[in-house]
């Protein structure tokens, strides 16, 4: 197999890797970098379990060729906590019981982060629409919506605050 050079940044660390043209970003994250917080679900763009942020934008890493990420900054769930302190969204998911089996959680949290970065005070409808590409088989969604809603700055939440 022909190897291609790939340079990218994941959670603030620069990597230079060798990949095949057909390799997915998801596989690079999980298998080359051993960051297994990013989950494989449907492997076809439908469930959102594999969501990561690429240059701040939510993408489904099962549908991104690794080479498409050349030069990009990737954020996975492992990169969210800072100096041992959980991100406000992570705390909110725990506090509001928005996690059961946890399989959808990394994707839910990263997609929510991208929403709140774009729009710090989304309505409940905005949250539902934005998370519509993320499937949860356990919680029934309401607790996830509550968790995201609770970190809106207008609700006294801490998203975006240092």
């Amino acid at each position: 197999m022909r190897k291609h050079k790939l340079s990218l940044t994941v959670n603030g660390i620069d990597y230079i890797l060798e990949v095949n043209a057909g390799e997915m970003l998801l596989d690079v994250i999980r298998d080359h970098l051993n960051l297994t917080g990013t989950k494989t679900g449907c492997d076809s763009g439908a469930c959102g379990a594999c969501t990561v942020l690429m240059d701040g934008m939510a993408v489904k890493s099962c549908l991104v060729l690794a080479l498409q990420a050349e030069g990009r900054k990737i954020l996975t769930i492992e990169g969210l906590a800072q100096d041992g302190a959980l991100h406000p969204l992570q705390e909110a998911f725990i506090e509001k019981w928005a996690i059961q089996c946890g399989y959808c959680t990394p994707g839910m949290i990263l997609t929510s982060k991208s929403l709140l970065d774009e729009n710090p005070n989304p309505s409940e409808d905005d949250i539902r629409m934005y998370l519509s590409g993320n499937i949860c088989r356990c919680t029934g969604y309401q607790k996830i919506i509550d968790a995201v809603a609770s970190v809106r700055p207008l609700q006294g939440g801490r998203h975006g605050k240092k």
């Binding site: 043209a21 076809s44 590409g133």
Partner: protein
């Protein structure tokens, strides 16, 4: 997935030169939101991937006097959030809101959506109703085709293996014109069962021009021309719209697929043509 050569094109010329060199052995990669799945399932297995996603010249939204020109690499999300489009061609922004999920819209491009030519695609019906044209470029020149004539069969288009779709030209709405797209699906963002786009322009109450296009009911998006003829030149009344719904139902023979049976879709055509016409004819664009 088999081994492939991977080329990251930096300019339109680099795209067309590589297409000329590799012909149908090559596949263009834009956002990859449809192609990657086809590659994984081995439904396509090119020897060469030409990644065009970094060609900045193909990513723009530019207004000219009567036309909005959109580069083929413009993403769904850019259309959804563009302030000019939201105000002046809201049909496109509204359609995008219901297309796939935000993650897919972040990477998926307009050009990729059209060239993929899924008969349930949500972009084609509005473009056809608006009378949009597509500009195709090859190493030997450029040509323009009506969006309506671009689609040939399930996942087949008029594009040649040496051509790239470069631009989409959308006529701006006339002063007394309006257009809407209504998508019917299980949930908002799911695959379209049927999608109806209606463009209508009026002199006071009389319909001057109308174009209706239905997606998800055949191998390509279909113009409901008999339904249009039923309204054109007439006062747009509830009765006339019901008449148009009946005509559309008669003239389109939907195919059964995973989204619904042919019978069900026939019902939907009649109902949704009426709904789309109603919304388009009272649409509030500049009081039209």
């Amino acid at each position: 997935m088999k081994d492939m050569r991977y080329i990251r094109a930096a300019s339109v010329t680099e795209i067309t030169d590589n297409l000329k060199k590799y012909g149908d052995k090559a596949k263009i990669l834009a956002g990859g939101q449809s192609l990657v799945t086809l590659l994984k399932q081995r439904l396509v297995s090119p020897n060469v991937l030409i990644d065009i996603s970094r060609v900045a010249d193909l990513n723009f939204i530019r207004k000219t006097k009567k036309t909005l020109k959109i580069g083929a690499l413009t993403t769904h999300r850019q259309i959804e959030t563009d302030p000019f489009i939201r105000e002046h061609l809201p049909i496109l922004a509204d359609m995008e809101k219901q297309l796939a999920s935000v993650q897919i819209r972040n990477l998926g491009t307009l050009g990729g959506n059209l060239c993929h030519a899924d008969p349930a695609g949500d972009l084609a019906p509005p473009l056809i109703a608006l009378g949009a044209k597509l500009k195709l470029i090859s190493a030997t020149g450029a040509r323009t085709v009506l969006a309506e004539n671009f689609f040939k069969d399930f996942f087949e288009t008029a594009i040649r293996p040496d051509e790239v779709l470069a631009e989409i030209h959308v006529p701006l709405l006339p002063y007394f014109g309006n257009a809407v797209y209504i998508k019917h699906s299980t949930r908002g963002v799911d695959t379209t069962i049927i999608g109806v786009a209606a463009f209508i322009s009026k002199d006071i109450d009389t319909c001057r021009e109308v174009r209706l296009c239905v997606g998800g009911v055949g191998s390509v998006p279909i113009r409901a021309k008999n339904a249009e003829a039923a309204i054109r030149g007439k006062a747009v009344s509830k009765k006339i719209m019901a008449e148009a719904g009946k005509k559309a139902r008669e003239e389109i023979s939907p195919v059964s697929d995973l989204q619904g049976s042919a019978e069900y879709k026939k019902e939907l055509i009649e109902v949704f043509i009426q709904r789309a016409l109603k919304a388009a004819s009272k649409g509030g664009r500049k009081g039209a």
